[in-house]
Subunit: 313 residues, 2 copies
């Protein structure tokens, strides 16, 4: 059985996973991200680390199916990446440039949120499905769409950018992207905390959230679970936007399953129930049938998905 | 070169197209739809008409790649069709049942709106693209999504059901589906006429629309083109919902192109300009890049797409 490598390039670390073709993770490791503003430095560091592991494991070049690389930015269908803002790099094409550092091994770059979706489909919460949508509720709102086993990466690198669909054009505050009322402004961890603060400021109702200094999504969710009425309202209004957006997705790519990941998903069953209720309320042409479940791979979803990509491409 | 047949089953007629594999339409014809509530009657009529044409053209069974059939209802991935309400039929599977009437020829059923999208991609307004979304603005709002040359038909037959995404939950009137504020309630021909009436009723402003008895979408669009302020407001508010929904699509499947068809699309360039302006106003994470163009196959899109399906499947 051959091997493949999945890499997840983040702003502070580069994670690596060495896999068997059947999805078994043989080894994972990481190195610090140090680009010094030069893509050659990034390529060199990745290549040295891959080579070291292959030698250490006695894996020959011919037994390596390829390397998938998840990166924090949009990837065009031809592999071009115009900018990786977090890494201070621009004008990359890992598919054509990275192989030069690794004896011509096959390389495929993929957006990191999309990679995570493919990972959850391969070995995670969506293992029983062919079509799923991963929603990663963290600082931002990441999303990846897999349809019939294939990533919907999009023509202009905007596939699965659900975090920035505008749900409420009347929102006074601006999103990081410049839009007003993006889904990310409500349903990410940042968004849930923001909604908690907004409810606190809107009234004088007693709430356990009032005693907390820097209110986090976890604070809001814990208070809501404990029955705090104001926190419950905040969670309801955040998750109503998420459920509504999921209904939009069901009317477009119609997945078998939504997988909820990211820090917010630690709220578990309580959160899933709220999401499901709102999701179902926005579907009328037929009974809602997509399952809603939790992600299981955590921060490893990206390396799994990047590795899976190289096997299917 | 082999041949293929595309069929579009409607409530009153069944349209047929005999194609060469390269997309050239050799002959088209139609017969009345007479199911008498029995699927066997439908299959028998289709088979007799196909056989007659093949014999007349001297085309042997071995030269027929297959038959694609567009039907007015959801088709599940395994070909099952639970109901065709307009035809009074239920529990069909054309993929497995129709071949019995035609010496085992390959048959693939497809939702008619999805078939039309594939048709426009093959030989119509989207001929230069791999990924497009067709929006058919007629009595209802039909939609089909093609991504990377492949139909996004969905897991539960809901792929491309954009007409029923809820854009405005505060809408007092109900949609046919039971929802409130579906896109179809604003951006279909019916929806545009409804918005025209709503604007007339909301004020006393002079408008050429006031003299018209049964106001149609064409009346509203013609008045708007002629500069009637109330009609222009009605068209703006209808097309704002359409542009907003198209922006949702761009953040999910990210097509190269939107193709606008159906009777409403006869309003041409004026309409496209209004749609584009609203579409672009809802995209902030990058410059909007999808083209917006007109459908070119009219009512033949369905037979083209059904025929194309059989070649790709």
């Amino acid at each position: 059985m051959r091997n493949c490598i999945g890499i997840d390039v983040g702003g502070t670390t580069i994670k690596f996973g060495l896999f068997r073709e059947d999805g078994h993770l043989l080894e994972k490791w990481e190195i610090p991200t140090k680009t010094e503003g030069r893509k050659e430095k990034l390529y060199g560091d990745i290549a040295a680390s891959v080579r070291q592991t292959l030698v250490g494991k006695g894996i020959s070049r011919v037994n390596l199916a390829g390397i998938g690389v998840g990166i924090p930015g949009p990837v065009l269908p031809d592999g071009k990446i115009s900018a990786l803002v977090n890494l201070g790099l621009c004008d990359l094409n890992l598919n054509t440039e990275l192989p030069e550092y690794l004896d011509g091994v096959k390389v495929r770059a993929v957006n990191d949120a999309n990679a995570a979706a493919l990972g959850e489909l391969w070995q995670g919460g969506g293992k029983d499905y062919d079509s799923l949508v991963l929603l990663t509720l963290g600082t931002g709102l990441g999303c990846g769409i897999v349809e019939n086993g294939r990533l919907v990466a999009g023509s202009f690198g905007m596939g699965g950018e659900l975090g920035h669909i505008i749900m409420n054009p009347d929102e006074p505050e601006a999103c990081n992207c410049g839009g007003h009322g993006c889904l990310e402004q409500y349903a990410s961890a940042t968004g849930i905390a923001r909604m908690g603060r907004r409810y606190l400021e809107s009234c004088d109702t007693a709430s356990v959230m009032r005693g907390i200094g820097e209110l986090t999504a976890k604070d809001v969710l814990d208070a809501a679970k404990a029955g705090d009425p104001l926190a419950m309202e905040a969670v309801e209004s955040s998750m109503r936007y998420l459920g509504w957006a999921m209904a939009h997705v069901s009317h477009m790519t119609d997945p078998q399953c939504f997988v909820i990941g990211g820090g917010v998903s630690r709220a578990g069953r309580y959160l899933l129930d709220v999401i499901c209720r709102h999701y179902e309320s926005f579907i009328h042409i037929q009974k809602p049938q997509a399952k809603v479940c939790l992600a299981t791979l955590g921060n490893d979803a990206g390396i799994y998905g990047a590795a899976r990509l190289i096997l299917s491409d």
